[in-house]
Amino acid sequence: MSRETASESRASDAALIDRLVQRDESALAVLYDRYAGVISSVVHRILRDNQAVEEILQDIFLQLWNAASRFDASRGSLPAWLVVIARNRAISRLRRHNPAAGDALLEGMAVSPFNLESSAARQQLVERVKASIENLPKEQRAAVELAFFEGLTHSEIAARTGDPLGTVKTRLRSALETLRRTLHSAAQSVNQRT
């Protein structure tokens, strides 16, 4: 993020994608500076392996370079799409799944109400998201973290925690309902300020 020049840091993701399509490698460098940190964080949290983080980063940004013309920035959010792919790749490795489980064809478009193009917005959102998760009741927070960072399904979470399946389902539903509300309010607040 700190490496982006002033004018480049103001370039929108859509403009940078257009430049990628024109094969402008400097646009890839800006997008890397903008989003590689978020991707590294989530992949490292899942795998705790620096080598794996580097491989996934390289793989994802090469995919972005190779397939930029197929990404429609007006229909989806680039950082959300990158995170979805990175998380799926990392969870596939963690669970020794076929890497194809993380293929973009299966992941589809992701739309986000958050504008993550400025580093200020990203920083504000980091605080808001952490607070939203930390404010969940302990069991709900644990269920969300097991699902998001370890890729566990309802019944796998129940097996891991020893809780009844119905309880796990209720906890996750309640947690997601709360997160949806608090993150919606965070999006409005952050988007207004930036």
């Binding site: 490698e25 890839l28 890397y32 500076d33 590689a36 940190g37 978020v38 991707i39 590294s40 964080s41 992949v43 490292h44 949290r45 983080v53 580097e54 980063l57 390289q58 940004f61 090469l62 370079w65 989806g76 959010s77 959300a80 995170v83 979805v84 998380r87 969870i91 076929n98 890497p99 194809a100 489980a101 064809l105 299966l106 992941e107 589809g108 992701a110 739309v111 986000s112 109400p113 990203r122 959102l125 980091v126 998201v129 952490k130 998760i133 969300v144 699902a147 998001f148 960072f149 890729g151 566990l152 399904t153 309802h154 019944s155 979470i157 996750l172 539903r173 997601l176 997160l179 949806r180």
Partner: protein, 263 residues
């Protein structure tokens, strides 16, 4: 899942990866045909992705960035417009002993060969899985289209208009039903259900309890159309849409909104 998922959290649960088994398959097969729900799923993916920001911060590798840009420049200088494939990053400098100086090039050559093979294998696996997923989706779409065609063209399929009931939301709908095939198609337009409520379609047989044909929540007054399978051979006395608690009930409890009987 015959109609739209009844709760918005279903999309979040799917994006989170928590749904499994029949629940997951039902949502996947519905989303394959429903643009409104595909959009809801894209929204859910974006919402869930933002949870990544809760991960402890990790610094992005400058080495990876440099390696990426080098690969791109090298491909450009080589005049290639083809997609660039992932290559292992260059080895980091280290002190070499005499033996390592001899063995390192051999080991590196073997490692590169192994990585190239692994990468090719990985790419093929990935393509194969994507093709399988695509084929499976196309087969589902084809089967669904066949079902619709066979229901519509069968001579013993009946069409029943469902009429709005007094003091109820005003809508229009009809069902096409074939008892021998055990297939039913609903098409209609009805205002969205009130908060914490869902619509539920029932087949009321000549004898016995009503049979649930599906729970649905129309989105923003958009037309709804979906198909479901029922036990074969049931002769209907009436079809009715009732207003039920969100998610539906085993037997009708709420007021009738639309009703129609075979002529």
């Amino acid at each position: 899942m015959n109609g739209h998922p009844t709760r918005d959290e279903d999309f979040d649960l799917y994006a989170l990866g928590a749904l499994e088994g029949a629940e997951k398959q039902a949502l996947e097969s519905h989303v394959a045909f429903c643009l409104g729900c595909a959009q809801k799923l894209a929204d859910a993916r974006g919402r869930i992705a933002i949870l990544a920001l809760a991960a402890p911060p990790a610094k992005a590798s400058a080495v990876v960035k440099e390696h990426l840009l080098q690969q791109i420049r090298a491909a450009r200088e080589g005049g290639g417009a083809a997609p660039i494939e992932m290559k292992p990053q260059p080895p980091r400098p280290a002190a070499l002993s005499r033996w390592t100086a001899i063995l390192l090039p051999i080991a590196a050559a073997l490692a590169i060969a192994a990585l190239l093979l692994w990468n090719a294998n990985r790419r093929l696996d990935s393509q194969l899985a994507a093709l399988r997923a695509s084929m499976q989706q196309e087969q589902q779409q084809l089967q669904s289209a066949r079902d619709v065609a066979s229901l519509i063209t069968a001579q013993d399929t009946i069409t029943v208009q469902l009429a709005p009931q007094p003091a109820m939301p005003h809508g229009a709908a009809h069902v096409m039903y074939n008892a021998k095939m055990g297939m039913l198609m609903y098409e209609g337009q009805i205002p969205p259900a009130p908060a914490a409520k869902s619509y539920q379609l029932w087949l009321v047989p000549a004898s016995g309890n009503p049979i649930s044909c599906g729970v649905f929540n129309p989105v923003g007054g958009q037309p709804d159309h979906w198909m479901t399978r029922l036990p074969k051979g049931i002769q209907p006395k009436t079809f009715a849409v009732t207003l039920e608690p969100s998610g539906g009930m085993p037997q009708p409890t709420g007021p009738k909104v639309l009703v129609g009987a075979p002529s």
